[in-house]
């Protein structure tokens, strides 16, 4: 049964969708592609430099590259630059590991007024918390399954 309230809601929603700015889909895909590709290229560049200059290789090299990118991502977020990139690129700036750093620093800065413990340190994990929880839980599960597979077969 439709109540008057539902009708009002429907009208309101159609009004919102009419007046909301239309995101140009092809353009947003192109922006995500080139900014995402550019961030990954920066990673590849850092990788080349580290392997040539520091003589690193394998897992250690990969770890240093992620540390460098996380440093850059959190630094640029602190300066306020990364949020501007985010407005332009959407998914292109969210998915790279620099976006992960951004999702940590952004809420941490915003809630600094609530103190350095329950503000900054606690709010760091509003987005990173679920990522670490699901990531670690799933990796333990994968480890256990493979442990059983290796032992049984």
């Amino acid at each position: 049964m439709k109540t008057a309230k539902d009708c009002v809601n429907e009208n309101y929603l159609s009004l919102v969708s009419m007046t909301a700015p239309k995101t140009d889909e092809k353009r947003s895909l192109f922006r995500a592609f080139w900014v995402g590709g550019a961030i990954c290229s920066v990673g590849q560049g850092i990788r080349l430099i580290f392997s040539e200059v520091l003589g690193l290789s394998g897992d250690e090299l990969a770890a240093y590259v992620s540390v460098a990118l996380i440093f850059l991502g959190s630094f640029l977020t602190g300066l306020g630059v990364y949020d501007r990139i985010g407005k332009y690129a959407g998914g292109g700036s969210i998915v790279p590991i620099t976006g992960f750093a951004n999702s940590v620093v952004s809420p941490a800065m915003e809630f600094k007024t609530e103190g350095y413990v329950y503000g900054t340190a606690a709010k760091m994990f509003t987005v990173a918390g679920p990522i670490i929880v699901f990531g670690v839980a799933a990796s333990v599960l994968v480890g256990l399954i493979y442990f059983v597979i290796y032992r049984v077969f």
């Binding site: 990954c40 240093y64 590991i97 333990v140 290796y150």
Partner: protein, 122 residues
């Protein structure tokens, strides 16, 4: 020329993964946090079947820099640990992802303390 081809592959794979994320954002209105979790778990599941390794071998940083590469690391560490012992099977994932998690926490806290939040209006 070799280096040019490498970067071309990096852009192709990295940009491709980000484009998939943008398609998800356009059509489902998922928030950034959920997108990150979905890509992390996708990378982890793909690697637990050994698939993501091919993407890493082809695209280099294009596959490891997106958050799905973080999931790949978690799965890879867990699978390598499972060969050794039960203890290593449980700790392997977080050991290989340890550098990323530690640096996010340390740099994140330092920069959040140093810098002030910018006004959203700009």
């Amino acid at each position: 020329m070799d280096i040019l081809l490498t970067f071309l592959k990096v852009i192709l794979v990295g940009g491709g993964i980000c484009t998939v994320a943008q398609i998800l954002i356009n059509y489902t209105k998922l928030t950034a946090g959920k997108i990150l979790v979905i890509f992390l778990i996708a990378g982890l599941i793909l690697q637990s079947f050994g698939v993501y390794q091919y993407l890493v071998d082809f695209g280099g940083s294009g596959a490891t820099v997106p958050i799905s590469g973080f999931g790949y690391l978690l799965a890879k560490g867990a699978m390598e640990g499972a060969k050794e012992s039960l203890f290593m099977a449980i700790t392997g994932g977080i050991t290989s992802a340890g550098a990323g998690i530690a640096s996010v926490i340390v740099f994140g806290y330092i920069f959040a303390v140093i810098f002030k939040a910018k006004s959203k209006k700009n």
